[in-house]
Amino acid sequence: MLEIKNLHASIGDKKILDGLTLTVKKGEVAAIMGPNGSGKSTLSYVISGREDYTVTQGEVLLDGVNLLDMDASERANAGVFLAFQYPLEIPGVATMTFLKAAMNAHARANGQSELQTPDFMRRVREAAQKLGVSQDMLKRPLNVGFSGGEKKRMEILQMALLQPKLGILDETDSGLDIDALRVVSEGVNALRAPDRAFLVITHYQRLLDYIKPDTVHVMARGRIVKTGGPELALELEKSGYKDYVGEAA
């Protein structure tokens, strides 16, 4: 499903991704772990098309199509979804207006007709209920005044509505207490499907207790340095990243 081949990317003069190669199969949940500054968040931004980064080499293929030829919105409509580490507050944009615009953009891009309002409302209500997103939150401007946990739930709500092929969770556990972590993880787990892959980027093992990965990849110095099964995450929890950071020094 997702094939990243020899990806090099930089921001300004600073090289961040340095020949990263990674394959994630359909239905797979791949965890990316790594120390601070290893390029994890950059990877999520480069896949989803943030313009601040320059890709100097390599390919990112989703179902064989090179994402690097598309802008961020085209990638989103092709099935990439990034759950932000720090979801943006957008004052003045009503959450429901935003959700409808996003869902209609997907519908249009995929040759479907735009959603009728009752259908839209029903889908939002159902998804919101599962994630404990209150009607009050839906009435507010997007993410404005939301707590950290509420913002993350709103991210997962959007993912549930947009039904991506690839969900990227960027440090979704940061700023969450245990209860919020459980709700968010259950939301993600409910979206696991044979034709959907996840890239779960995290610094800590904790999140992986709730979202069980199929594969674990250690990232350091802009590339994947080790790949293994779920046991690798436990190992890291004990030994830390010092083995991988050490090489950089």
């Binding site: 961020a72 989103a76 004052p91 003045g92 935003f98 615009a101 953009a105």
Partner: protein, 436 residues
């Protein structure tokens, strides 16, 4: 120091001398005002309050006054229909003169006095009402208005009356050959009265010079919502609007102005909070593009304590437009417990646009809470990316953020119908931009 008069100033002096015998009433007010105007001349860069809006440079020539002919009246009637004023009580000034035929004041509640300024000034006692002493007197454009005023509405709402329908004051300039118009309207809300005043000022293009003043007197406990929309098309048009408001105890005045499709406009508001516990809120949205120039200048005089003032203005600038915001809050020595908050925020869509933000506080009391904030910025790339990452195109994302920026200002309009009407006008302006 007396500067040499410009040709426009000389023409105004000659025109005043020629017209003086035929101008209705209030001769002393006019003469005094004209003397003040001639002393100061047209406002220009050397006058601090007009530093960013150099009217002397803009106004090369003084346009002549004129009375509307049958064709102009016909065109005005059509325009009034297309304005869809709904159930409003409509008072029309055409080319500076009060026009009863175009007005529809039949729906006014019994006891509400609505008439022509000219008629009201037959009673000399009324002259003081339309020029509140000490309010805006130092401004030469206000003086010019007082000297030349051709007509206006004179409205009095008796104590404790709630006027449910909006009172629409429509100032139309018929355009065509270059001409000027001077109106001054007066609205008094008696003790405990309330009303919504909807001011529409527009031309139909051309080189018009409009100088309008609105004087609002709020009695104790009176409440007024004021909504203004300004459309003076034409690269060479000039529009100057002055609001002079005095407020009694526990009175409330909330004003919102939408400025768009206007070549060159100065809106200036002078408000005096004369008794305790009153509230004033001045807000607005200006949408500027091309070579347009829009200036909003406020002077709030907290003359009594325990009052609250709020100002909130947003400006979107495109092309090589110029925006000016000057907000001055004066708190007099005795005006303790004043609560003042002022904000002006501008969003620049072009490198060639210019915004001048100048908040000022002058505080002589020691127990007050006053703050101000002024920002000039661009659309946030992080927000754009966030929206794009959900599938919205870049243009859609920008448009959504611009709508949001405008909407946060529009949300201050209390009347739902007017709020939606203004929102759709702002929307149309913004979508024209995204098509361009």
């Amino acid at each position: 120091m007396t500067l040499q008069r410009t040709s426009a100033e000389a023409a105004l002096a000659a025109d005043y001398a020629a017209r003086r015998p035929v101008l209705f009433g209030a001769t002393k007010m006019r003469d005094d005002a004209m003397a003040r105007f001639l002393e100061a001349g047209l406002p220009n860069r050397r006058v601090e309050e007009w530093h960013y809006t150099d009217l002397r440079a803009r106004m090369n020539e003084a346009a002549p006054l004129r009375s509307a002919d049958a064709a102009a009246i016909g065109a005005a009637r059509e325009r009034l229909t297309s304005l869809e004023l709904g159930e409003a009580i409509v008072v029309v000034m055409l080319d500076g003169e009060f026009n009863l035929g175009l007005s529809s004041i039949g729906a006014r509640p019994q006891g509400v006095e609505i008439g022509s300024l000219a008629t009201a000034l037959l009673d000399p006692a009324n002259a003081d009402l339309i020029a509140p002493p000490g309010l805006g007197e130092a401004d030469s454009i206000v003086s010019l208005n007082a000297a030349f005023v051709q007509g206006g509405a004179f409205i009095r709402i008796p104590a404790n009356m709630r006027v449910e329908r909006p009172i629409a004051l429509v100032n139309l300039l018929s355009g065509g050959p270059r001409h000027a118009a001077y109106t001054r309207s007066f609205i008094e809300l008696g003790v405990g009265a309330s009303a919504t005043v909807w001011e529409i000022s527009e031309n139909s293009g051309g080189e018009t010079q409009a100088n309008d003043a609105l004087v609002i007197k709020l009695g104790d406990l009176a409440e007024c919502d004021h909504i203004a929309q300004v459309h003076h098309r034409g690269e060479k048009s000039i529009a100057v609007h002055t609001l002079l408001a005095t407020m009694g105890r526990s009175a409330r005045f909330d004003s919102f102005a939408l400025v768009k499709d206007t070549g060159f406009v100065r809106r200036q508001m002078f408000a005096r909070l004369e008794r305790e516990e009153s509230h004033i809120g001045l807000r607005g949205l200006s949408l500027l593009r091309g070579e347009e120039h829009a200036d909003t200048t406020l002077v709030i005089d907290h003359a009594a304590g325990h009052c609250e003032s709020r100002e909130f203005y947003r400006t979107i600038l495109d092309g090589s437009a110029t925006g000016v915001f000057q907000g001055k809050v004066c708190v007099r020595q005795g005006a303790q417990k004043t609560d003042g908050g002022m904000k002006s925020q501008a969003l620049m869509l072009s490198d060639d646009a210019t915004m001048y933000n100048k908040p000022e506080l002058e505080i002589f009391a020691d127990d007050v809470v006053c703050g101000h904030g002024a920002t000039v910025g661009q659309l946030d790339d992080n927000q754009i990316f966030y929206l794009q990452s959900r599938g919205l195109s870049r243009a859609e994302a920008q448009s959504m953020l611009l709508q949001a920026f405008a909407q946060e200002a529009l949300d201050h309009i209390a009347d739902e119908t007017l709020r939606e009407r203004f929102a759709s006008e702002a929307h149309a302006w913004l979508s024209m931009r995204s098509k361009a």
